[in-house]
Symmetry: C2
Subunit: 307 residues, 2 copies
């Protein structure tokens, strides 16, 4: 029960970065959307087809460069069930291409309900005596506000299916400190959440020293990144906030250990919207070039990744 | 921007309770599942049909008794996109029957992403110049761990479409205290979250005195329910944990104000699984009887609801 599979892919590609699949409004080129929506009986159905096509082309463009993709579920949910059908398709396609898929859904609930989320995104669902896969992610982002019994069903799924979770600890957004930075008994709320991550992953670190319980820590708070790297030695970090949100390569250096491991850095808009700076190139080719630039930028501040 | 529509329905039906639609494993009678799954090309597609049928029959059975239903999204997501197609169908059907629909998804993210969740569940999505509805809920449960900028897009949707949100404050599960009960500067973490609810709803209380920003507070913590009712005078409470989780009518009395308003109490398993005690009766008739018993039980501890 660890992130060894993901670390293996990071080492193989010498690249601790992940492409965030955020099909936000304006991200998919209008002519791609229009081609599918124009011919559809319903705009959502058409958009679902557009999402499938776009997702395949982005995966094709980056699958040999990055170890992982991170679909942001909100942008698929905004297109209703056809959006979620496209998500399932994209996850399957990416996994067939060898990518590790981090579903960014930030799910959270009481234990009995989290069993259903674990089944949906990490495990399998029983239907009339058959086991089926709903959305087959390799990892899921989650929110630990409800404490241990909301996390335990996920840990069981991680164990059974070799998956991982990333728990929100210190998020990248401007107001993350309102609750997360409060002092609670000599530590911050995010510090307390980080300690829970170490507890939830205790005793199950893999060959690279990290458990299957990771943490989300924003690139926009470099000081806290370094503080948490020291405090949480067995917790892998998923680092959003690089690029469009303002975090630089220098900002994320503290998320990594001395081997250049321990974290994976996400970029979404910087990769997906690269076509807007050179529309002639096409969105997939532009995404590929941006992913290569990101790899170069991030690895430039790290020790050589070799294990 | 308030919960006036929901209060209107509560007063009309003299019933501050909500039926939680939690199609957890074993909840839908096996013969209903089997009928649909047996004939389907794919188990998930069959289960989607079963969920539609079951949801319609439950709504038919309770729509004249309760003001609202609360689908628990996790249980629909566990059945993949066909489950979410069934959710959209059930929401539409319930709203046509006059029910207020609280989507229990506990969503949370940074501001730009929350815009997508707001579009998906409370507002509308733009597709190629057209505005469409993905899942048309009346309210959404959310997690405020990320602070104000993760909540603001929801407030804009509440304003534009007359919707509401319920923010997790003190949850009903056994380990809710691990983070939520910690002392942070003279108040608990849940107390700090409650204060944020009052801040987010400030200045927009409706005719019953409550804003469109509600709070989730568990029936399993009656002392905190009363404490929060006093501390958060403009914040409506959604109260889970009654019934199967252990909360009694006496436990939830403190969630209400002197007019018998200010809260709505959820029961899921107690309603949906009532058929297991009398299989002859059928699941819909058993749910109706259980919903009537719940109304009687809850109103027995409240002042007469009249405004």
């Amino acid at each position: 029960m660890s992130f060894d599979r993901l670390f293996g892919a990071i080492i193989e590609k010498k690249n601790p970065s992940v492409v965030g699949l955020d099909p936000a409004p304006g991200t998919i080129p209008p002519d791609v959307v229009n081609t599918f929506v124009r011919e559809a009986e319903d705009p959502l159905l058409g958009m679902g087809e557009a999402l499938c096509e776009w997702g395949e082309r982005i995966v094709d463009a980056v699958h040999d460069i990055v170890p992982a993709i991170k679909p942001q579920m909100a942008y698929y949910e905004a297109y209703g069930w056809p959006g979620l059908r496209a998500l399932a398709h994209t996850v399957r396609y990416a996994r067939q291409k060898g990518l590790f898929v981090i579903l960014d859904g930030k799910r959270n609930d009481i234990g009995s309900t989290m069993q259903a989320y674990a089944a949906a995104y990490l495990g399998q669902t029983e239907v009339d005596g058959k086991s089926v896969r709903a959305f087959e992610g390799d990892a899921l982002t989650v929110n630990g506000y409800l404490g241990t019994d909301g996390i335990e069903p996920l840990l069981r799924a991680c164990e059974a299916f070799d998956r991982g979770v990333f728990v929100l600890v210190k998020t990248s957004n401007p107001s993350s400190g309102e609750l997360q930075d409060r002092d609670c008994g000599g530590k911050t709320v995010y510090g307390a959440m980080g300690e829970l991550c170490e507890k939830w992953g205790a005793g199950c670190a893999g060959q690279y020293g990290y458990s299957s319980v990771g943490a989300v820590v924003g690139a926009t708070y470099p000081e806290q990144l370094g503080e948490l790297r020291t405090a949480l030695p067995h917790t892998m970090f998923l680092v959003p906030g690089y690029g469009a949100q303002g975090g630089s390569a220098a900002d994320i250096a503290g998320a990594f250990d001395r081997r250049g491991l321990g974290a994976i850095v996400n970029s979404s808009r910087g990769i997906l919207c690269a076509w807007k700076k050179d529309e002639e190139k096409g969105y997939a080719a532009a995404a590929r070039e941006a992913a290569l630039r990101m790899r170069e930028d991030i690895t430039s501040v790290l020790p050589p990744i070799e294990c």
